[in-house]
Symmetry: C2
Amino acid sequence: MDYDTPLFFHVMSYAMEAEHDVIDMVSGNPDWGSPPGISDGLHEYADLGGADFQYPPSEGLRELREEIAARRDVDQSQVVVTCGGGEANYLAMARAMERESGDEFILTDPVYPYYPGKTKMLGATARFVATDEDGTLSPEAVREQASENTAGIVVNSPNNPTGAVYDEETMREFVSIAEEYDALLVSDEVYDHFDFSGKFTSALSFDSDNRIVTNSFSKTLAITGFRVGYAIFPPELVDVAKTRHMLTNVATSRPAQYAVLHALRETTPEYHEENRQLLKSRVETFTSALDAAGADYSEPDGAFYVMARFPDFPGTLSNVEKLIDEAGVAGMPGEAFGSSRDDWVRFALVTPEVEEAAERLADYFG
Amino acid sequence: MDYDTPLFFHVMSYAMEAEHDVIDMVSGNPDWGSPPGISDGLHEYADLGGADFQYPPSEGLRELREEIAARRDVDQSQVVVTCGGGEANYLAMARAMERESGDEFILTDPVYPYYPGKTKMLGATARFVATDEDGTLSPEAVREQASENTAGIVVNSPNNPTGAVYDEETMREFVSIAEEYDALLVSDEVYDHFDFSGKFTSALSFDSDNRIVTNSFSKTLAITGFRVGYAIFPPELVDVAKTRHMLTNVATSRPAQYAVLHALRETTPEYHEENRQLLKSRVETFTSALDAAGADYSEPDGAFYVMARFPDFPGTLSNVEKLIDEAGVAGMPGEAFGSSRDDWVRFALVTPEVEEAAERLADYFG
């Protein structure tokens, strides 16, 4: 497994090329629409022109950094506005390698496939820690893999693909394992607005020089195409990260930053609450149908995904294609996420047709 | 010298903190305004919402890649749309290192400071080739530095900071030196629309598996803040570059890509011609004043910059600060661009106050 895109694109185009109607539950693109502040902000920006169309500060528009810093209760100098969560994780993992305190990353299995991809690109080695079947990641299991070779520990809560949300005690332990082994905890929290359990705890809750928090507005504001995210570094790690950001991208796209800033100021908590309620009801609809299909499934505490295991129907690529052909539902093969879930299929609940998809699966397997 | 930003920001903030009026000739931000297609495109995009706000293809919007490919007469599969020229050069130089055919980059002196910055970030070594005083870069001098350790040769034409434009024969030689030493020529052509000499030749003119061309819409469309550029790779090098692009940024910001596509379709050649004429007349105004000041100066064949050397006034940081304080004109110290021009100052002709700046310098030194 290198990174998910070849497989991802393969499944996407297989589904799109099908002549019958296929419900796309492959991608993680929200379908519930952005808050109006995004369009309003873009319109406002489009009329500025001139100097406002030129380079923003490399680390991000000052007012956007201030807004993020105020919300996250950190100093704005610790914030780097990035080209989405993708660049935020790249900067964080590169920063871990630059410390020259180990060249291994501890990753989970199942894993969000970009992490092993970045690990390889950075010339590091991945050590995988299997989660429990319910997606729980035991700090003890992480500690067993930690050593002086550990450069970083990369965790994602709420989790893609398992839907697990790590509680306060677990996150505290991850931070302290990182400290113990002079490594960096990279806590990817892009689904933080999609916690159904109330137990989500940001790694920022624990004061430490050994943790970097990454985040993005891609999911929060349903703008995966805008590419605006951020990373929050401990004070003594941030300067080198800013240098890499500058030498890689110079800066993050300004129209997108401007629209995000505008939307952050205008969007009420109700927007996020409605999206959570929508997702919770989709989870219910979908998992009821999985019951009818006789499948095992994850019950997500957060994020957008349900993993399912159908009886005598392992989630291989060829079975995923069969589901597309015969049931008209497209999911992601479990093998995209590591070895521990290769008999599962991941379904993204980002389509208004969740109910129809659920019925199709229940009919197919029922 | 690491990369120019600390010095750049130092000079910028020194100029901005001055209590008197200072004319900013430090940054490379065009002041002549974007073509209307940029704002129009952003407005159009802002109203799309929904699926159009989500992930574009990682390598860039299909129609934008097709537009670029048609204009550059390459196959669209060779095009990667990047976060500006900055990421394009990063991908190109990283690609040269990934071939494991050398770990040195041949750079010019004076040099655009991001190239040595990226060289260092990629763990490579820079070998500098001094240009002639008029900015000419001799292929012979490049060949003398080339060896089996050469991973890449990075050139920039029209050149920042010298204003040199390499002619057809010179570019052909650079390509053939790269081929000879199994290295990659990285030809950064972001100022291609600002050639006053008519002799600009793209490295794409020479069919070769050893050259990558990078470009950007930052200068061409006066949108340095949008961060849309591209790199054109030989067919057998492009896949790995696309992987790095995906693992670094996932994709380039979609609103900015959409606006660029719209502007490419709407903008007439007159827009570019007017900007060239404007710059040519600024060069004349400015260099006449430099004559009056008794200075040596570069006569740019392209790009936005004039380098000047004043009698008994080397272009050190402290003298640049003195010019800000006493003449009210801010330029960049020559030392930002390497050792060969450390007695020069670079002035960017991106302000309507070029004439006033010229008068101030003539008065100060006259």
